[in-house]
């Protein structure tokens, strides 16, 4: 047992620093995906709840596609397909070889899936805010943007925080898929460690424990955020 723990040592003799670097990449990939996913998800939710039929249709097609494909397949299509498309575009100007950055490909693929699910959360939150509120705000002389920022948005956050927390936890776990496109995330570095030490049980257990700790910290943090945004809510019973 002690010699197993010694394998986690920092530096060239152990795998501790590799696992830490992988964890860092996993977390930064998830954090980098989040703002794009949220922004696109919000835009699509606005389109879904707008009165305009064509906008609704376009938004629903987006959600249907990216909710219906396996995340792994979306990732591979973005990675290899992006490569082909970029190659063709670049071939028009230069004959240099372009390579799709794995991190960006992962961010795009995870962002597409995340935003599709987030748009559903936001859309149902929008439906939970009575139309009279932004109307009343505009009647008081606010601009549409002010009404959105000061009246709708704070309530939107409160109504969607629960759903978004779940999506974040899913995103954190889904980052493990990028290990298949040679991105050195936690799971891939673990694979490398296993390949070299032949200790799969130990190293995969350590990796899963790290994922578990990440989920635990996220859940705690998001719980605090949720309590903060809901502090104005009256408790029933």
């Amino acid at each position: 047992m002690m010699d197993l723990i010694a394998q986690l040592a920092w530096g060239p003799g152990g795998w501790g620093d590799e696992l830490a670097a992988g964890t860092l990449l996993t977390v930064s990939l998830a954090l980098a995906t989040l703002p794009f996913g949220l922004a696109i998800g919000l835009l699509i939710a606005v389109a879904k709840t707008s009165g305009e039929k064509s906008l609704q249709t376009a938004a629903n097609v987006y959600t249907t596609i990216f909710r219906g494909l396996p995340e792994l397949l979306t990732l591979l299509i973005v990675y290899y397909g992006g490569q082909i498309v970029l190659q063709r575009i670049f071939a028009l100007f230069t004959d240099a070889y372009v390579e799709v950055n794995g991190f960006v490909a992962g961010m795009v693929a995870l962002g597409l899936v995340f935003s599709a699910f987030a748009s559903e959360v936001f859309a149902s939150a929008f439906r939970g805010i009575p139309a009279g509120q932004p109307e009343a705000a505009q009647a008081l002389g606010m601009t549409r943007w002010q009404a959105f920022r000061l009246v709708t948005l704070p309530q939107l956050i409160r109504l969607s925080i629960g759903g978004l927390s779940n999506l974040w936890l899913i995103l954190l776990k889904e980052t493990s898929l990028v290990s298949v496109i040679a991105l050195n995330d936690l799971l891939r570095n673990t694979n490398v460690a296993v390949g070299s030490t032949k200790q799969p049980l130990f190293f995969y257990s350590v990796a899963l424990a790290i994922y578990l700790v990440l989920s635990l910290i996220s859940a705690k943090g998001l719980g605090a955020v949720e309590a903060h945004v809901k502090r104005g809510e009256q408790r029933t019973a």
Binding site: S54, L55, L177, L187, S205, A207, L212
Partner: protein, 277 residues
């Protein structure tokens, strides 16, 4: 007042037809719909123009076999996981701290870690114990990647389904239990005839989502040499570098998920029609 004449309201012209103005949102919406149509046409064109009959007829049978494996994986894991999930849901609601704690730990572990990692742990971890597994006569099971994947999926979906059943059972008001008890019904009978049917209706929607998640999640089986639909697709791509195979796979997965989603919507509407006021 006797000379009141009947006045007929003269016919008026109908109100003018409202013309839908080209607002910004309509322009954007139409443009985006146009983009989707263009992408759809592009997809069909790409599949048609780069259609390679050699690749198609060589790998289509493999992909069909892969599809069968995917379906088998999903059906077995959902059914077996469902059977295990009911006792697990009860363990989650148990009065004993130890049983409840263990069940909570199980569910937390499987929901808090990536399925891909769980699968690697099972598949490669079992490989580390060849001798021990051989001595207890279980090696034949773990030797096959398919069995390891199936076992991981069953354990994983058990955790998710247990949470679904627990939430559903807890959503049934206490009064239902009390009313049944005051009528003299036994505990088991109360559960099967009163609580369970109502809970299943609540569980229907999240259960549908779980099946869809499982179909999509089953694609990771391809990463431990199981030739499911995704595995067959990756094999075809690695041998031919024909990107279209991924698009075929995407169409197949998408059709399955979308068909299931629509069937499930219909099923839910049908089963809850007595609840509509």
């Amino acid at each position: 007042m006797s000379d009141t004449t009947v006045q007929i309201i003269e016919a008026r012209t109908p109100p003018p037809e409202t013309i839908r103005k080209w607002t910004v949102s309509r322009i954007v919406g139409t443009a985006l719909c146009g983009v989707w149509i263009a992408l759809g046409v592009g997809l069909v064109w790409s599949l048609y123009s780069a259609f390679d009959p050699d690749v198609f007829f060589k790998y289509m049978p493999r992909m069909a076999d892969g599809l069968i494996i995917t379906i088998k994986l999903v059906v077995f894991s959902i059914v077996l996981g469902g059977l295990l999930a009911i006792p697990m849901a009860f363990a989650r609601m148990s009065k004993s701290d130890i049983i409840r704690g263990c069940a909570f730990g199980y569910v937390y572990f499987f929901r808090g870690t990536p399925l891909l990692g769980q699968m690697f742990l099972m598949y490669y971890g079992a490989g580390q114990f060849v001798d021990q597994l051989q001595s207890v006569g279980l090696w034949w099971f773990f030797r096959d990647a398919y069995n390891c994947v199936l076992l991981t999926f069953v354990l994983n979906t058990t955790a998710y389904q247990a949470e679904i059943y627990k939430t559903a059972i807890e959503s049934i008001p206490r009064g239902q239990h009390e009313a049944a008890e005051s009528l003299g019904l036994k505990k088991g009978l109360t559960f099967w005839k009163i609580i369970f049917p109502q809970a299943m209706i609540t569980a229907l929607r999240p259960l549908g989502n779980e099946i869809i998640l499982m179909i999509k999640g089953s694609a990771v089986a391809s990463l431990v040499t199981v030739f499911d639909l995704m595995g067959a697709t990756k094999l075809a791509f690695s041998r031919t570098f024909d990107f279209n195979v991924y698009l075929w796979a995407a169409i197949v997965y998408f059709s399955i998920v979308e068909t299931l989603r629509r069937t499930w919507d219909w099923l839910e509407e049908r089963l809850t029609r007595h609840l509509v006021r």
